[in-house]
């Protein structure tokens, strides 16, 4: 459809070349820097110094590694979301699934440390599996409600976040509290072989490897497998999927399991790579940031990894800004929000062609 208002003409695009799409995204991310500067200036904050602090995070090797590590839980959750969103499953519950991943990973460590149930060599691999399954099952519940009973997934996934956060609170304040921890709400510290920096010296390396492998798997799954085809078909048109002989229940359950499972592995990275033990509120909203990252990357798994590192860097920058410029962390959150708004604006420009007349 086409409308003309004040000499501005908005025309629906039939097809958009990939290059144009990328150019639009790039341009609007640049624009978000400009808008953010303007906002900072209005608030009386030196925008040049703020933005240069943010940029400098990506220039020094040590803070870049930090950015990568912070980005990995976000990235894994976002990779899961890219599957969920492609099958039209609006999972807002990556945050809760992260917590369920942390819970399971920590549980394995405790089984090993308290009962000796798992041998040392197998501990880390068991933690990966457990966090994947735990996060996955947690997301399968709303998936089941959706495909079996027709319950909209948005509210269940969102509300289950609080359940998971409080459940982890209960564990670390109660049964899982470190007996030698002076009553702090913390689990016991993980042994070295259950920590990611025990592998290549720095947790970032293993984290990045995991993320890249998962990105490749997700890409391959969606592109080359019959399951990926079914997931995309369900996301496109449920009637067409049914007509094509797709088992809706099975596909939705598998898709939501994978989505939650990847977020669960993100949770493992938090406890095993970032903190080294379980504590309350261990995720400062990585699961929500993952939604932004998934959309910024246009649900493309390969782009999700760098986008996640970018947002990981913003978190690191937030701390730097707080320390050196004496600004609240909110400054970085403002920046994040502006980027998200620009992504939404970019979506509009990808869908419509806008031309100016006279």
């Amino acid at each position: 459809m086409l409308r003309t208002v004040w000499g501005i003409r908005v025309e629906r695009r039939l097809d958009i070349p990939r290059r144009t799409s990328a150019a639009i995204s790039g341009l609007l991310i640049l624009l978000s820097f400009v808008v953010a500067s303007a906002v900072f200036e209005i608030l009386g904050v030196n925008s040049v110094r703020t933005l240069s602090t943010i940029v400098s995070v990506f220039l020094s090797p040590s803070s870049l590694l930090q950015a990568i590590l912070r980005g990995m839980p976000i990235g894994l959750a976002a990779l899961g979301l890219s599957i969920a969103f492609r099958m039209n499953f609006w999972n807002i519950g990556a945050e809760g699934q992260l917590y369920m991943g942390m819970f399971a990973a920590t549980g394995m460590v405790l089984l090993h440390a308290y009962y000796g149930a798992i041998p040392e060599q197998l501990l880390f691999i068991t933690m990966i599996l457990a966090s994947f399954i735990s996060g996955g099952l947690y997301c399968t519940l709303p998936g089941f409600l959706k495909s079996k009973l027709g319950v909209n997934e948005i509210l269940p996934t969102l509300m289950l976040n609080y359940v998971a956060i409080l459940f982890v609170d209960f564990l670390v304040y109660g049964p899982w509290r470190d007996p030698k921890g002076f009553s702090f709400p913390l689990s016991i510290p993980f042994p070295d072989y259950a920590r990611m920096d025990g592998f290549f010296g720095n947790s970032s390396y293993l984290g990045l490897m995991i993320a890249i492998i998962v990105a490749a798997l997700v890409y391959g799954l969606m592109r080359w497998t019959t399951l990926g085809f079914e997931l995309r078909l369900v996301g496109q048109n449920v009637d067409a999927a049914k007509y094509g002989g797709v088992n809706l229940l099975k596909t939705t359950l598998i898709g939501s399991f994978l989505a939650g499972g990847l977020a669960g592995i993100g949770g493992l990275i938090i406890v095993s790579g970032l903190i080294g033990r379980l504590r309350p509120r261990a995720s400062p909203g990585y699961g929500y940031t993952a939604i932004i990252v998934a959309f910024l990357a246009g649900l493309n798994p390969w782009l999700i990894v760098p986008a996640a590192i970018f947002f990981g860097g913003l978190l690191v920058a937030g701390e730097a800004i707080q320390a050196t410029l004496n600004l609240p962390v909110a400054a970085v959150q403002v920046f994040q929000a502006i980027i998200f708004l620009m992504i939404i604006v970019a979506e509009f420009f990808k869908r419509y062609r806008v031309t100016f007349k006279r």
Partner: protein
């Protein structure tokens, strides 16, 4: 006789969309006081040409003259102020507002305050003149499709349109409503308006117009006086070749039954019994027609035969195997091809043409090994099917949603008929509805080919001539039950027509 006044002249209009030349130096002239048909197949560029005249698209090349003056039409607003009105296929009315309110929306003459009495009076005058039954204070949602169309016409008349474009106006109307519309169009022409009727239906073009401009592949191929031409000539101009006649099968003894239903009971979406105990047998190598006014249980029947709707009672056997309430994938595996009534509903619009072609076959045969899809085979096969089924698409990676209706129908046909070797039964529901002559012929030919291969074809249609031409047997459905059955040789359109209203066969015979 003085020469008629030219209202519109369009010269050398070209318009390109990505991958399609929609208009290719098209010419069009409209006189005062005529009804002028713009005839062509789906995708011939009729609507694009008229959308350009109405300012919805900007032409790449060409000139437009309105009453002799060269004009630039940049928006519908420009078009309206030049006296051009257009009635689209989809009505653009606000359901909760009144007729009068819908008509004055966006009108320039109306000042800051509204004088409803004056507006209503003027509208009533127009309504009375055209002999309609609508009232200015009725709400749109209370009106039938035909009446809504009258509101759209009224809108154009109220804005003093002298040039009126109607895009396939009869596609939403019942035959009776169409007759009323044609009377209206004649009356408008006699008032000195120029009316453009976009259509692909030859009979209405022959019946109501003064002149015909035929379009093919974006070009205007000829303009004729209606009384000096014939449907055959127009069809030839429209398609560019003669239409063939499809041979009905010679009487051969029917093969074994491939599809059987026993006392089938099916509920509709509201939970009411839509099919009340239906028993049919479809044999190998025959086309069984299901006639009936749509909404008499046909939709529910075909959906259950494709496994898409649960059956409340009774049995469905395919090739002798009980398939009652089995999932759709098992129906597909047992060799049921289903051409659904709303093809777009069963198309993944955002996925590519190639992906839509393998929508049902992706797990089968050569397209996948274990869990991997073999895209190379998919593209090779899709390439072939696009050619054999004449699907017009810029590429195999084009989004299926951007294809025209006729092309989506061909895509569905390719997907259903060409990808499975062991098809036993083809369920075709209204496969040619709304399609142009060439596409209709193509689809009917494909169904006949399936029959010749020994497949059983169940053809649900409202088009009695189509049924009479293709079918070996016809059953007539009314309110979820079979009113009667006729075999080839007894087909009589009038009898079937009567039976469609619920008259039993014995009575209809008289």
């Amino acid at each position: 006789m003085e020469s008629p006044q030219t209202l519109v002249e369009m010269r050398g209009i070209s318009k390109r969309f990505p991958g399609v030349q929609a208009n290719d130096s098209a010419n069009f002239t409209l006189f005062r006081g005529e009804v002028h048909a713009l005839l062509g197949e789906n995708g011939a560029g009729k609507t694009t040409l008229m959308n350009i005249l109405y300012g919805l698209y900007k032409p790449d090349a060409g000139e437009i003259y309105v009453k002799g003056k060269p004009v630039q039409i940049r928006s519908p607003h420009d078009a309206i102020s030049l006296g051009i009105g257009m009635v689209h296929q989809q009505f653009r009315l606000i359901p909760t507002h009144t007729v009068a309110e819908n008509i004055i929306v966006g009108s320039k003459e109306i000042g800051f305050t509204l004088n409803y009495d004056a507006i209503n009076e003027e509208l009533s005058k127009l309504i009375k003149f055209y002999g309609w039954a609508i009232r200015p204070d009725s709400r749109i949602w209370q009106l039938s499709a035909g009446e809504k169309q009258q509101v759209e016409l009224l809108k154009a008349l109220y804005r003093k349109a002298e040039i009126l474009i109607l895009d396939e106006p009869t596609s939403v109307l019942t035959p009776q409503e169409s007759t009323v519309l044609f009377q209206t169009l004649r009356r408008m022409a006699s008032q000195g308006l120029g009316v453009v009727l976009i259509s692909h239906k030859l009979d209405e073009v022959m019946g109501v117009t003064d002149r015909v401009t035929v379009m093919r592949k974006g070009k205007t191929v000829a303009t004729k006086l209606t009384k000096e031409t014939s449907p055959e000539e127009l069809a030839y101009l429209m398609i560019g070749r003669q239409i063939g006649v499809i041979e009905a099968k010679k009487n051969v003894a029917p093969g074994p039954p491939l599809l059987e239903t026993y006392d089938l009971k099916i509920l509709d979406d509201k939970g009411l019994l839509a099919v009340k105990g239906l028993s049919i047998k479809l044999h190998s190598g025959e086309i069984l027609g299901v006639a009936g006014v749509s909404g008499n249980g046909q939709q529910e029947l075909v959906e259950s035969l494709a496994g898409l709707r649960k059956v409340e009672g009774g049995k469905i056997l395919i090739g002798g195997t009980d398939m009652t309430n089995k999932p759709p994938s098992m129906f597909i595996d047992s060799g049921v091809a289903y051409i659904p009534p709303e093809t777009l509903r069963y198309t993944a619009a955002g996925m590519t043409v190639a992906e839509n072609i393998i929508l049902k076959a992706y797990k089968r045969g050569k397209f996948s090994r274990r869990f991997l899809i073999n895209w190379k085979t998919v593209f090779n096969e899709a390439e072939k099917l696009v050619k054999t089924f004449n699907i017009v698409t810029p590429s195999l990676k084009t989004r299926a949603g951007s294809l025209s209706g006729g092309n989506i129908q061909r895509l569905v046909l390719a997907r259903e008929l060409a990808l499975q070797d062991d098809i036993k039964v083809v369920i075709a529901a209204y496969p040619t509805k709304g399609l142009d002559v060439a596409s209709t012929e193509f689809i009917q030919r494909k169904l006949a080919e399936s029959r010749d291969k020994g497949i059983g074809v169940l053809l649900v249609s409202e088009d009695l001539e189509e049924l009479a031409m293709l079918c070996d047997r016809i059953i007539v459905m009314y309110k979820g039950e079979i009113v009667g059955e006729l075999v080839r040789g007894e087909f009589d359109l009038e009898t079937i027509g009567l039976m469609m209203t619920g008259v039993k066969r014995a009575e209809a015979r008289v």
